[in-house]
């Protein structure tokens, strides 16, 4: 379990101190995939670096499995870091080492005998599907392949935790999907607790169990992904859930409601069924849905007629058909 208690971080700069994190309290349970989302500059990268003390917090405690990292001696801290893997947006592979040598690096540091290390690397190459590239150098690999090597390297010492700092932000959508699936698989089969830092809601939506929304150095909201997705409480969460829907605020008239598609069948024509069966004409203000393997993902913002009886009919149809929605003010 990772516990952050009253964590703050200020950087000194020429124009006075800059606050990157303010009084952060978070608990990440074992076996979870925990997402941390925020706009750029919100402090999320600093936050993840505080977990393994790459950044030393100005105040507060980082407690992992009951041990406070901020009170550890340098040697203990280095030891501790070997049980926390980390991957990055820029992959950060050693350019002068080939794939196998990269995966063996953390094992060299942990003084694992070479033969054993190479065997472990081979297992991991199988896991990430790169056995045929074992002798390749990073410059010969694509972005997705580099991230797979980075994942294998991060898992070499069998860490309990894996920190992912914008790990898919430099990748195209298809590669992003495959990397996210790999992370989910690692979480499921090896029980590795994963912390995912991202600015993209779809990454959270795809793999995370819980999410913390961070805004101007503070935690704005924490909760189950489904809950935050369907009923965001904070303004920032609302913006992240529907990044393009801001312009609909000024639209007056009937009540607005938000439909959330979270993996239901995309073969079901939900909106036309709603209109035909409840006999309520609705206005689509915003839609951002996509089909992933036959499942609908995304959101739709609908406006109901002024007549409250018609609106009520629409709501009862949605309830009766088990469609996830929330009322917007």
């Amino acid at each position: 379990m990772i516990e952050l208690r009253g964590l703050s971080k200020t950087f000194a700069s020429a124009n006075g101190p800059i606050t990157a994190l303010k009084n952060i309290d978070l608990t990440i349970s074992d076996g979870e995939i925990f997402g941390i989302i925020g706009l750029s500059g919100a402090g999320k990268s600093t936050l993840v670096r505080c977990i393994n003390l790459l950044e030393r917090p100005t105040e507060g405690q980082v407690i992992i499995d009951g041990r406070d990292l901020t009170e550890m001696k340098q040697k203990e801290l280095l030891e501790m870091r070997r049980s926390i893997g980390m991957i990055f947006q820029g992959f950060n592979l050693l350019e002068q080492r080939n794939v196998t040598q990269n995966i063996c690096y953390p094992l060299e540091i942990a003084r694992v005998p070479k033969k054993q290390a190479v065997e472990r690397a081979e297992e991991l190459l199988e896991l990430v599907g790169l056995t045929d590239r074992r002798k390749s150098y990073p410059s010969q690999l694509s972005g997705g392949q580099k991230q797979r090597v980075a994942i294998a390297r991060a898992l070499a010492t069998k860490p309990k935790y894996l920190l992912c700092d914008e790990a898919t932000s430099a990748l195209d959508p298809a590669t992003t999907q495959s990397i996210l699936e790999l992370l989910k698989e690692i979480n499921r089969s090896m029980g590795v607790t994963i912390v995912v830092i991202t600015h993209e809601m779809k990454v959270i939506d795809k793999i995370c169990d819980k999410v913390a929304v961070i805004d101007s150095s503070e935690i704005a909201e924490v909760g189950e992904v489904n809950r935050v997705f369907t009923a965001p409480k904070s303004q920032i969460a609302r913006e992240l859930v529907m990044p393009n829907a801001q312009s609909t605020k000024h639209i007056s008239g009937g009540e607005k409601l938000r439909l959330v598609f979270n993996g239901e069948s995309s073969y079901l024509p939900v909106v036309s069924n709603l209109i035909m069966e409840s006999q309520v004409p609705v206005n689509i203000l915003f839609a951002d849905t996509r089909d992933i393997d036959g499942h609908a993902h995304g959101q739709m913002l609908l406006q109901l007629p002024d007549d409250p009886r018609q609106a009520e009919r629409a709501f009862s149809w949605l309830d009766a058909n088990g469609i996830t929605y929330s009322r917007e003010e």
Partner: protein
């Protein structure tokens, strides 16, 4: 070609000059690296954005390096001759010249090494720190190997600079192509001797450059092969 050239050639003085220039340069470069490499590593590691910032030490070493770097070699050479006498027992001849070359080149090498090490991607350093690598291990296992192609390129540039310095050493009693150009060419009005030395120096530099760059290229795994 003048009579003088054939006389020198027959006596084997030109051939000896080439050899002396090459060996003085290479020995000086090697010793300059023995001193300059650790200094350069120290400068990059203890810098404010290095892996182990030590501002005071960094500033002190930096200032010393800059003092040596800012004195022109012809002057520095004369100024450090007493040191040469202290180290090799004489302030004359090639032994003394090598000492002055090393003193002049080591700070230069330190700066070359520092800039190569600073080229190593900060993200890679962060990644290996996240894996729990102690600072000294980062130097051996990450900084030097990752900077290797750049370090080799830097060594070639440093060696060529030292070769240039070695020619000036002809004025204080060193031998080699510089001394031949000065005493047989310039002082006895044989322009062709000067030009022979120019051409030979250019050829030596080209060979050094070519060999060095090939090694750098071959060791660089970032280049698709």
């Amino acid at each position: 070609m003048s009579e003088m050239f054939f006389k020198l050639w027959d006596k084997g003085l030109i051939q000896l000059g080439i050899w002396e220039t090459v060996y003085m340069t290479l020995i000086s470069a090697a010793v300059a690296y023995i001193i300059g490499l650790p200094l350069g590593l120290l400068l990059s590691v203890t810098d404010s954005d290095g892996i182990h910032p030590m501002p005071v030490l960094n500033r002190v070493v930096g200032v010393i390096v800059n003092i040596f770097r800012s004195v022109p070699f012809v002057i520095l050479m004369l100024a450090v001759l007493p040191v040469a006498k202290l180290v090799v027992g004489t302030s004359m001849g090639n032994k003394a010249v090598i000492v002055t070359l090393v003193i002049a080149a080591a700070p230069y090498v330190a700066r070359m090494v520092e800039s190569s090490i600073k080229e190593v991607d900060k993200g890679v350093i962060e990644a290996v720190q996240a894996m729990g690598t102690p600072s000294l291990t980062i130097v051996w296992k990450v900084l030097i190997p990752e900077a290797k192609p750049s370090l080799i390129t830097g060594a070639v540039i440093s060696t060529v600079t030292i070769l240039g310095y070695s020619a000036m050493a002809g004025t204080i009693g060193g031998t080699g192509l510089g001394q031949i150009a000065i005493s047989y060419g310039y002082q006895r009005y044989n322009d062709d001797i000067i030009w022979v030395c120019v051409v030979l120096t250019v050829i030596i530099v080209q060979i050094l450059q070519e060999i060095g760059m090939r090694i750098a290229h071959r060791t660089d795994k970032r280049v698709r092969q």
